[in-house]
């Protein structure tokens, strides 16, 4: 694993994009945005979302702990507990035939389900948009949310599908040759976002 102290090979090293404190701050900001969206006065009419309707659904691997963290922060700021879940998209991917088979991960929905609620998909990096498309396909089989939104820690551009995020932790202009690695304490022992040259 590349660490922030190691100079990246190749060109001028962007190094660690977000340090642990930055990740925490970004997650806090996204939690505030979620609260604002759900509890704030949209004033648009009757179909205003409430936090009780909100479900944060993480896309494994790192979207899952990220969704739980966001939920914990939303609860800390608003006092309202928020449901979370995970949706494994492996069986819905459009590139299965291009790579070897992969092990599956958890799919867990809250006991109240997702029907009629506001589902916010949570992922670590938004790149081509194909994972999100697969997640939307999976959601369609799992229920009928009132609306689906997308929250990502990092948006690195290079979309291949007409998909955009509703909540973005950090926009990072990248080249296709670069890789964006998100490390989370739950899965990798530390919080950081690193850009790696290939």
């Amino acid at each position: 694993m590349a660490s922030s102290t190691e100079p990246a090979p190749g060109q001028a090293a962007p190094g660690a994009l977000l340090a642990p404190a930055d990740v925490a701050r970004v997650v806090d900001r996204m939690a505030h945005q979620l609260i604002e969206k759900c509890a704030g006065g949209g004033g648009a009419g009757d179909d205003r979302d409430s936090l009780a309707d909100l479900v944060l659904v993480g896309i494994p691997t790192r979207g899952a702990p990220l969704a739980r963290r966001l939920a914990a922060r939303v609860e800390a700021f608003s006092g309202t507990p928020v449901d979370t879940g995970t949706v494994d998209i492996t069986l819905y991917r459009d590139d299965l035939r291009l790579r070897g088979v992969r092990a599956l991960e958890d799919t867990v929905l809250p006991p109240a389900g997702i029907d009629g609620r506001l589902v916010v998909l949570v992922d670590d990096v938004l790149f081509s948009g194909r994972s999100v498309r697969a997640a939307l396909d999976a959601l369609r089989d799992l229920g009928r949310p009132r609306a689906v939104q997308l929250a990502v820690l990092v948006d690195r551009g290079h979309r291949e599908l007409p998909i955009r995020a509703d909540y973005v932790g950090k926009n990072v202009p990248t080249s296709r040759a670069q890789k964006v690695r998100v490390h989370l304490a739950e899965t990798d022992g530390t919080d950081e976002v690193v850009v790696v040259e290939q």
């Binding site: 069986l91 035939r97 599956l104 799919t107 089989d141």
Partner: protein, 306 residues
């Protein structure tokens, strides 16, 4: 995983565990859903090539393939050109020419799936060959034990009855020992195969002595259709010594489970009240079979073509 699933003896611990874990994830993903369908194998074709009668295995494979959105062709020897004398090889090549990606084969000849695997480019899954192996049955049995008891390592499994003719018993012996379970075969001497001493199992002729120590008891069907000699004096005598009735079931430990691969001869190897008791996992095994076969098809066909 390899390209084919021909025998449980081929599976190492990592592969076998991968199948069981994948089945568990599929179960979890489909639990309580209205649409029990996944798009994973869309556009791929699975042929069920059955030269022997089957209810649950064929339907189970068909359902598994359909739930993964594959196209399924069911072929049974009866009513096909096999009755005009077409060979297994020609039949298989014909099916492949029509674009099959996987062939699930059941055949009365031991080793038929192995031959088939040399002739076709797609994957071959053994759904039972003669008295040799039935690997997906063993996988679903292992999955059932793991779900009920929470583990396989160190679990004591008694496999009781017609071991000689049972491909289920052979596959279970290899798979369960690979996964760390301890297998004891219980059968009359006439229904044990030659060379059983070389298998990684204990052998006993006394069911009553084995039952109190068993965590799972797997009753085998007495395969009258494969018996060309008298292997035991009478059905009644067999049932008295090797059948599982309520009295014997009472000797089992508190959490022990009773399994049967089906179809059952009620009253012969298993009493009706045992088969319908809470310890019995017989119906559960059938349900688990679909998930396990989905896992196998996904792992064989889901990735990049080899």
């Amino acid at each position: 995983m390899k390209r084919h699933l021909l025998e449980a003896a081929d599976l190492d611990r990592a592969d076998a565990t991968l199948v069981l874990d994948t089945a568990a994830q599929i179960d979890q993903a489909l639990a309580g859903r209205e649409v029990k369908k996944l798009p994973t194998l869309r556009g791929r074709t699975v042929v069920n090539l059955f030269y022997e009668d089957s209810t649950r295995t064929r339907i189970s494979f068909e359902l598994a393939a359909k739930r993964l959105s594959a196209d399924v062709i069911n072929f049974s020897a009866k009513g096909s050109s096999v009755s005009k004398g077409e060979s297994l090889k020609d039949t298989a090549l014909t099916l492949e020419a029509m674009g099959s990606d996987a062939i699930v084969v059941r055949h009365s000849a031991s080793g038929a799936p192995h031959r088939l695997a040399n002739w076709v480019r797609g994957s071959v899954v053994n759904a039972g060959d003669g008295t040799h192996e039935h690997p997906t049955q063993a996988l679903l049995d292992a999955y059932t034990i793991r779900r009920r008891l929470g583990r396989l390592d160190g679990v004591r499994v008694a496999v009781v009855g017609d071991v000689l003719h049972s491909r289920v018993a052979r596959s279970n012996v290899w798979l369960l020992t690979t996964l760390g379970a301890e297998v004891t075969l219980v059968a009359p001497p006439t229904l044990l195969p030659v060379g059983v001493g070389a298998w990684p199992v204990e052998v006993s002729y006394d069911l009553d002595a084995v039952l109190p120590k068993a965590d799972a008891v797997m009753m085998l069907r007495v395969q009258a259709e494969r018996m060309n000699a008298s292997f035991f004096p009478s059905a009644r005598e067999y049932s008295r010594r090797y059948g599982l009735d309520a009295r014997r079931m009472a000797a089992l430990g508190d959490d022990a489970i009773v399994m049967h691969p089906g179809p059952m001869n009620r009253g012969m190897e298993i009493a009706a009240d045992v088969a319908d008791s809470v310890r019995s996992t017989i119906v559960e095994q059938v349900g688990n079979g679909v998930s396990v076969r989905m896992a196998v098809l996904y792992l064989l066909l889901g990735g990049a073509p080899a």
